[in-house]
C-alpha cells in the first residue's frame, strides 16, 4: 500500500487553480517536492494535511481518505511549516511539551519526549530560554522537534532550510537524512533549492503550474548520458575545439568552464585524449556526463 496516493487532485483558491489534476503515488523513502515559487508545493503539502480540500480527485494518506480522516492521519504525521513559527513568551521545552500533549500524550511522557527530540535536533541549554530570543537556526530546529515529538511515520517538511546559514543548512539536512535513514520515516521535502533535494532525497516530484511535470528516482533521472562527457582542458582551447570539430564531436560550453562534449557514433572516448595530445594540451577533467537536477528542472520547467 502506498503511503500517499493522489488521483487527479484539483485544489482551488477562489478562481486560481493551485493544483490542477495532480496524480502521483509515494511508497516511502525520501521524496523531494521540487518546483519554482508558486508552483503548488506548499498547497500539495497542505492538502495532505487536510488544510485544503480537493475540489476534484482523491487524496489518501496511509490508505485513509483526506480530509475525512484528517485527525487519524495527523496522529501519524509531522509537519514543519515553511514560515517562521514561534511562541515568543514560552521556552522550547514548554512549547514542544504542549505540542506533544496536543497529540494526546500524558504530561510526563510529553516532557520526556520533548527532551529526547530537543537533544536529537541539537538544541542545548537554550531550550529553557524564551523562544523570542532564538536565532533562525534554533527556530528551525524547534520546528523540526515539534514535528518529531510524537514519533511520526510521515514527515512533511516545507522549505526546511529557509533562512539558514550554510553550516546550519548542512546540519539540518544531515539531521533530516538521518531521520529518513535510521528512523525509517517517509519524508516529503518541499524546496526550490536543488542541492537540498539532491543531498537528502531518493525520489523527486517536480511540480510546475499545479501539475506534476516530472517524477522518478534521482538516480534514474540523473543517469549517465550515452556518448557524452564533461571535459576540462588546460589551455589551447581553440585548437582543441578545432580538433573536436574535425573528428565529428559536438560540444557546449558549461557555466563552470567545462565542455559538454558529445561523441559521434562508434567513437572511442580515448579519441579525445588523442586530440588533446595532437593539439599540445592536456585534459584535466574527464567524466561521463550525467543530467544534473538543474538541467532536468530547467527542461521540465521549459516544456511547461
Amino acid at each position: 500500500m502506498s503511503v500517499i496516493e493522489l488521483r487527479d487532485v484539483e485544489v482551488c483558491y477562489e478562481d486560481l487553480k493551485a493544483l490542477n489534476g495532480v496524480t502521483c503515488s509515494i511508497d516511502g523513502g525520501t521524496v523531494g517536492l521540487l518546483g519554482p515559487n508558486g508552483a503548488g508545493k506548499s498547497t500539495l503539502l497542505k492538502t495532505l494535511l487536510g488544510f485544503n480540500r480537493a475540489t476534484k480527485g482523491s487524496v489518501t494518506v496511509f490508505g485513509m481518505d483526506m480530509p475525512k480522516n484528517a485527525l487519524k492521519v495527523r496522529m501519524q504525521l509531522g509537519y514543519m511549516p515553511e514560515r517562521e513559527s514561534v511562541s515568543p513568551k514560552v521556552s522550547a521545552v514548554s512549547f514542544i511539551t504542549y505540542c506533544g500533549r496536543l497529540f494526546g500524550m500524558s504530561r510526563v511522557d510529553a516532557m520526556e519526549r520533548t527532551h529526547e527530540v530537543l537533544n536529537y535536533v541539537g538544541l542545548g541549554e537554550a531550550r529553557y530560554r524564551k523562544m523570542e530570543t532564538y536565532s533562525t537556526g534554533m527556530l528551525q530546529r524547534v520546528k523540526l522537534a515539534q514535528a518529531l515529538v510524537h514519533d511520526p511515520k510521515l514527515l512533511l517538511l516545507d522549505e526546511p532550510t529557509n533562512g539558514l546559514d550554510p553550516q546550519g543548512r548542512i546540519e539540518l539536512l544531515e539531521l533530516i537524512k538521518e531521520v529518513a535513514g535510521r528512523r525509517k520515516v517517509t519524508i516529503i521535502l518541499s524546496s526550490h533549492l536543488l542541492p537540498d533535494i539532491q543531498h537528502v532525497c531518493d525520489n523527486v516530484i517536480l511540480i510546475q503550474g499545479g501539475v506534476v511535470a516530472l517524477a522518478g528516482s534521482i538516480d534514474e533521472l540523473t543517469a549517465v548520458v550515452d556518448r557524452c562527457f564533461e571535459v576540462r582542458i588546460r589551455d589551447n582551447k581553440d585548437g582543441f575545439l578545432t580538433g573536436l570539430a574535425e573528428a565529428g564531436f559536438t560540444w557546449q560550453d558549461q557555466q563552470d568552464g567545462n565542455l559538454f562534449v558529445t561523441a559521434p557514433d562508434n567513437t572511442d572516448p580515448r579519441t579525445l585524449f588523442e586530440i588533446a595530445r595532437a593539439r599540445e594540451t592536456q585534459i584535466r577533467h574527464f567524466r561521463p556526463a550525467r543530467h544534473s537536477l538543474t538541467e532536468i528542472f530547467t527542461q521540465a520547467a521549459g516544456k511547461e
Binding site: 513568551k89 514548554s94 505540542c99 500533549r101 497529540f103 500524558s106 536529537y120 514519533d151
Partner: protein, 290 residues
C-alpha cells in the same frame, strides 16, 4: 563524538483521544500565571476580595455580638451589612479589574497565534477548531469566574458558617445561583468579545483599543439618547448598563430603567453570539483554508 547513540526512541505510550480543549486551557493558564502584569492585576482583584472578606467577618463576628465594644461603631457604617446588595456591589466593582485582566489575557490570544504562524502548527496536530476555540474562551471564563463567582460563593459559605442558623440559610440559599448567573453575564461577554477582536484584528494593541472604544462609544450614545429623548430605556444600548440591569433583576436591586430585563439579556446574548461567530469563522478558516 558522543559515546551514546544520539537519537530518540520510538514512542510506545498510549495517546489519549478527545478533550484536547482541556490541554489548550491548561497551556493558556500556564502561560498567564507566568506573566507578571497578569499577577499584578490578579493581586488588585484579590484586594477587593480581602476587603469583602473582612466585611463579612466584621458583620458576622462583631456586629452580631451586642457585647462587642466595636459594635456601636460598626453599626454606624451603612453598607456593611451582608446582603444580596453587598454581593451585587462586589461583583459590579470587580468588573473593571476583571475587564483589565481579561483584556490583558485575551487581546493577543488569537491574533498572536496568527502573527506567529502557530495556527499551522497547532492544526497539524489532531485538534479541531472547537478544541482551540473552547480552550481559549474557557481559559478566560475560568479566570473570570475565579475572580467573581468563586470568591463570592466562598463569602456566602463563610457567612453561613459564621452565623449558623436556619434563618440565615433560608435567606441566603438562593444567593449562589444569583452570583453564578450574574458572574456569567459579566464574564461571558468579555471572554467572547475580547478574543473576537483578537481574531478579527492582526494586532493585540488594536484589538485592545477597539474593545475599549466600542462599549465607551455605545454607552456615550445611550446616555445622549436617553438625555435627548428623555427616555431611560435607551440605556439598554450600552452593554455595561444592560449587564448591570440583569444584576439588578437577579439581586432584586433598584432598577436603572424599566424596560423588561429580557431585552437586556437579548442584547447580551446577541453580542455573545456575534463574537462567537467571528471567532469560529476566523479559526475555521485557519483550520480549513479551502
Amino acid at each position: 563524538m558522543p559515546i551514546y547513540e544520539q537519537t530518540y526512541r520510538h514512542y510506545e505510550g498510549k495517546m489519549r483521544h478527545g478533550f484536547r480543549w482541556l490541554i489548550v486551557i491548561e497551556q493558556e493558564l500556564r502561560v498567564l500565571v507566568k506573566a507578571k502584569p497578569f499577577l499584578l492585576l490578579l493581586l488588585v482583584a484579590m484586594i477587593h476580595c480581602i476587603v469583602r472578606l473582612l466585611q463579612v467577618v466584621a458583620f458576622d463576628v462583631v456586629i452580631q455580638d451586642p457585647n462587642n465594644p466595636l459594635t456601636p461603631l460598626l453599626n454606624q457604617i451603612k453598607g456593611l451589612m451582608v446582603s444580596e446588595q453587598m454581593f451585587f456591589d462586589f461583583l459590579r466593582l470587580q468588573t473593571p479589574v476583571l475587564f483589565l485582566i481579561t483584556l490583558y489575557a485575551g487581546c493577543g490570544m488569537i491574533c498572536n497565534d496568527f502573527n506567529n504562524n502557530l495556527m499551522e502548527i497547532y492544526f497539524s496536530k489532531p485538534i479541531r477548531w472547537y478544541d482551540y476555540v473552547v480552550g481559549k474562551v474557557s481559559s478566560l471564563v475560568i479566570v473570570g469566574l475565579m475572580l467573581t463567582a468563586v470568591p463570592a460563593i466562598f463569602l456566602v459559605v463563610l457567612h453561613n458558617l459564621l452565623v449558623p442558623s436556619m434563618k440565615v440559610f433560608q435567606e441566603t440559599w438562593t444567593w449562589p445561583g444569583e452570583i453564578i448567573g450574574f458572574s456569567l453575564v459579566i464574564v461571558l461577554p468579555m471572554a467572547l468579545s475580547i478574543p473576537a477582536a483578537s481574531a478579527l484584528l492582526r494586532s493585540q494593541n488594536y484589538a485592545a483599543i477597539v474593545i475599549v472604544m466600542i462599549p465607551v462609544a455605545a454607552s456615550a450614545m445611550a446616555t445622549v439618547l436617553q438625555g435627548v429623548l428623555d427616555n431611560r430605556n435607551y440605556l439598554i444600548l450600552s452593554l455595561p448598563i444592560a449587564i448591570n440591569r440583569i444584576g439588578e433583576q437577579l439581586f432584586h436591586g433598584h432598577v436603572s430603567f424599566h424596560l423588561n430585563w429580557r431585552w437586556s439579556m437579548a442584547h447580551i446574548v446577541g453580542v455573545c453570539v456575534l463574537c462567537l461567530w467571528i471567532i469560529i469563522h476566523k479559526v475555521r478558516k485557519a483550520e480549513l483554508a479551502t
